[in-house]
């Protein structure tokens, strides 16, 4: 049986979505998306353009907004706070991973057992 192969696209700054595409893919209503833009939660790549385009990484934030709105009935202001905190947590997670990667193997979390030696007296 022939298995079909589909190409996956990276959700990064190289791809863009129009306003309508971002609303449709995220599940947000256009009015909700507009509110999140007004609160600077989702910023178009080309500020000032009449036809705003969003980098594809905005889709992850827009989908998270939709999930949070559905789960907690959050309004736009609540979503803005929640998304800002999530973004901050993601940045701190990445920083923690980077710091851990720079620690020698035996000093990382979950490193070699017995890594903490008792003081010599």
């Amino acid at each position: 049986m022939r298995i079909e192969i589909t190409e996956a696209m990276w959700l990064d700054e190289r791809e863009t979505f129009s306003f309508d595409e971002l609303a449709e893919l995220s599940g947000l209503a256009p009015a909700e998306l507009r509110q999140l833009m007004e609160l600077d939660v989702l910023a178009p790549a080309d500020l000032g353009s009449a036809q705003p385009a969003f980098t594809a990484d905005c889709l992850a934030a827009a989908r998270a907004a939709c999930r949070l709105r559905e789960a907690f009935d959050l309004d736009a202001a609540g979503l803005a706070v929640a998304l800002a905190l999530l973004e901050r947590i993601a940045a701190l997670d990445a920083e923690l991973r980077s710091i851990e990667a720079q620690l020698p193997g035996r000093r990382r979390r979950g490193g070699t057992p017995g890594q903490h030696q008792p003081p010599m007296v």
């Binding site: 996956a8 696209m9 990276w10 959700l11 990064d12 449709e24 990445a94 720079q102 020698p104």
Partner: protein, 314 residues
């Protein structure tokens, strides 16, 4: 079809008020929401409570659910004979579950599809994590995907349809990166767009390299004399071994950068590989080595604790 006790899932009594149901859901959602919780199995638990709430928050669906009767969770059951007519729904096979049944009831997909002129309903989105090795991230890879998507036939009858396909992930992966596979979710209804598949990349631990973004870190043990005198040592990289010039006077913890030897980036270019110097000492020096170290100790004026002594003398 296997019975699920939605009341039990939310931890409420069968006669609970709509307000109590909402409160119970929000409490559990806050605990298990995948954007917030890092608990093991949180995503699965969130799906379960979301499914229960989707049905119980809607008075019509809650009434339809209550009419099914009460069984043990996991117990096989069939809806009562007149249930489908009473709630204007229809299903074709036993491989759908309660969530599918109520999804059809909720969206009016069955009625829309039956009439052929209903509202457009987008297909189901899927999201899954994919674990890749660093080697797969470097060269790109293909992953097997098996989905079971909820679809509706021309009469609006719900059924689960298995889909198996491969997804090609181009080189450029890093931990936490996301991909979209357009149109590979469930089928849309009445001209609604097909759903998408979203992939979240996780990198498997590697015995040598530790990734941070597209950079890699590697411990590089050096003998004390290599660190002092400098050396040319062979360093493994994901592209094969390279020779690295270690400068004289290298200190433990110092990062030696190998430009472009990290993970490739999706748009071109590569991260860097950092070799972190570690000073390794022989655990059982020979007699001759011990003599040489003793000679060095008596000849050297180097005091590695000079700063400590200065600070404590203040």
């Amino acid at each position: 079809m296997k019975y699920k006790d939605y009341y039990k899932t939310l931890g409420v009594e069968r006669g609970a008020s709509a307000d109590d149901i909402k409160k119970a859901y929000r409490k559990l959602a806050r605990k298990f929401h995948p954007d917030v919780s890092k608990e093991t199995g949180a995503e699965e638990k969130f799906k379960e409570i979301g499914e229960a709430y989707e049905t119980l928050k809607n008075p019509d669906k809650r009434a339809a659910y209550d009419q099914l009767g009460s069984y043990r969770p996991g117990q096989e059951f069939r809806p009562p004979p007149d249930w489908e007519q009473q709630f204007h729904t229809h299903f074709t096979s036993d491989d759908i579950d309660l969530a599918d049944l109520f999804a059809g009831l909720a969206s009016g997909r069955h009625a829309s599809a039956r009439s052929g002129r209903g509202m457009r309903v987008p297909g189901e989105n899927f999201e899954m994590s994919v674990q890749l090795t660093l080697e797969e991230a470097v060269r790109g890879t293909e992953v097997d995907v098996n989905l079971s998507a909820l679809e509706f036939d021309a009469q609006g009858r719900a059924r689960r349809v298995p889909h198996s396909f491969k997804v090609r992930i181009a080189k450029g992966a890093a931990h936490g990166k996301r991909l979209r596979v357009p149109g590979r979710g469930g089928k849309g209804v009445n001209g609604g767009r097909d759903g998408d598949l979203y992939l979240n990349i996780q990198l498997k631990p590697h015995p040598l390299y530790r990734p941070a973004g597209h950079d890699l870190y590697l411990d590089l043990p050096l003998a004390p004399w290599e660190a002092v005198l400098g050396a040319v040592v062979e360093v493994p990289t994901l592209g094969g071994p390279v020779r690295l010039k270690v400068p004289p006077g290298s200190q433990a913890g110092q990062h030696l950068r190998l430009g472009g030897r990290g993970l490739p980036k999706p748009g071109g270019g590569e991260g860097d590989l950092y070799a972190i110097v570690q000073i390794a000492v022989p655990s059982g020096p020979s007699e001759r080595e011990r003599e040489l170290y003793e000679e060095l100790a008596s000849a050297s004026e180097f005091n590695p604790r000079a700063q400590l002594e200065r600070e404590t003398a203040r």
